[in-house]
C-alpha cells in the first residue's frame, strides 16, 4: 500500500472501514486494515477507487465499487441495522452485548451467511432470546 495514498478522503466520504491502525511513528499516516473483510489483497485498489470518490450515497458507491467494496461500505449500515433489530426484539444493552458476541461467533463458524438481511437478523435475535 502506498504511503502517499490520501486516506483522509476515505474518511471524508464516510466509508465504513472496519479497522484503522494509526501508526504515530509514521507521522500522520493512517493505514486501513481490512483483515476482517477478506479484501486485504485488494485494499490498494479499493483505496485508490475510493480516493477519487465524490461524496455520494452508499447505494451509489456500492454500484460503482462492486462486491469487495460493498462489504467495506456497510459497517455503519450494519451497526444501525443490528441496533434497530435489537430494539425491535426488546433486548437490553447487556443483551445486545452478549448477542453481538454470539452472532459473531456463529458467523465465524460458517453457520450463517456473511450478509444477513434485516429479516434474517431479526429471526436470529428472536431465536437467540429464547
Amino acid at each position: 500500500m502506498s504511503a502517499k495514498t490520501d486516506y483522509s478522503k476515505l474518511r471524508r466520504v464516510g466509508l465504513g472501514i472496519r479497522r484503522v491502525s494509526v501508526t504515530p511513528e509514521n507521522g500522520n499516516e493512517v493505514q486501513p486494515v481490512l483483515i476482517a473483510l477478506g479484501v486485504e489483497n485488494r485494499r490498494a485498489s479499493v483505496a485508490r477507487s475510493v480516493g477519487s470518490f465524490p461524496k455520494c450515497s452508499d447505494a451509489a458507491r456500492r454500484r460503482v465499487l462492486g462486491t469487495g467494496a460493498l462489504v467495506l461500505l456497510s459497517h455503519k449500515h450494519d451497526i444501525k441495522q443490528f441496533r434497530q433489530t435489537c430494539l425491535e426484539v426488546g433486548l437490553t444493552v447487556s443483551d445486545r452485548y452478549a448477542a453481538s458476541e454470539d452472532l459473531h461467533a456463529e458467523k465465524a463458524s460458517g453457520h450463517l451467511p456473511a450478509n444477513m438481511s434485516y429479516g434474517e437478523l431479526l429471526a436470529w435475535l428472536r431465536q437467540w432470546r429464547r
Binding site: R18, R19, S21, I35, K76, I79, C86, T92, S100, H104
Partner: protein, 140 residues
C-alpha cells in the same frame, strides 16, 4: 439528607467521572458483530467494565495486543472526540469516531459500568447515560 445523597450519586455518574473510573486490567478483547471491538476491564475492586466500539475505528487493530495490559487513564480529546486509553505499556488504545453522515448515526462507543450504567458517546460531542438493563436504543 436523602436529597443530598441523590445529588452526590448524580455527580458521581457524570460522563467524565464514569469514564475516568475506567481503570484496570484488560482481561479480554475481541471482535463482535458487526465487526466492533469488545474490551473487558477488571478494576481494582474486581468488577468488570465493558467497552464497546460502535461507529468508530480503533487502534491497535488486533484485540489480542490489548489483553494483559492495564488501562491507566481514559480520556476524550475535546477537539477530535477520540477516546484515548493510556495503557500500562506506554501504548494507547485509541477509538476514533467515524465521520457523521446522518442524524440517525449510531454512537461511536459505549461503556457499560459494573453498576449497570451505560455511557454512550457520539455521534459528535454528545453523551448519554442510561441503564444497561434498559431496552437497547437504535440510535442515541
Amino acid at each position: 439528607m436523602e436529597a443530598l445523597m441523590a445529588t452526590v450519586v448524580a455527580l458521581d455518574a457524570s460522563p467524565l467521572n464514569l469514564l475516568h473510573s475506567l481503570r484496570g486490567t484488560i482481561v479480554d478483547a475481541r471482535i463482535a458483530y458487526p465487526d466492533v471491538l469488545h474490551v473487558e476491564v477488571r478494576d481494582a475492586h474486581g468488577d468488570l467494565w465493558r467497552l464497546v466500539t460502535q461507529d468508530a475505528y480503533w487502534s491497535p487493530a488486533d484485540p489480542a495486543r490489548l489483553v494483559g495490559r492495564s488501562i491507566d487513564q481514559a480520556d476524550i480529546d475535546r477537539q477530535t472526540g477520540e477516546l484515548r486509553c493510556r495503557l500500562s505499556d506506554g501504548t494507547v488504545l485509541d477509538v476514533k469516531p467515524a465521520a457523521v453522515e446522518a442524524k440517525d448515526d449510531p454512537p461511536n462507543w459505549e461503556l457499560i459500568s459494573p453498576a449497570g450504567l451505560v455511557l454512550e458517546f457520539g455521534p459528535g460531542m454528545r453523551w448519554r447515560i442510561g441503564g444497561a438493563d434498559d431496552a437497547a436504543s437504535a440510535q442515541r
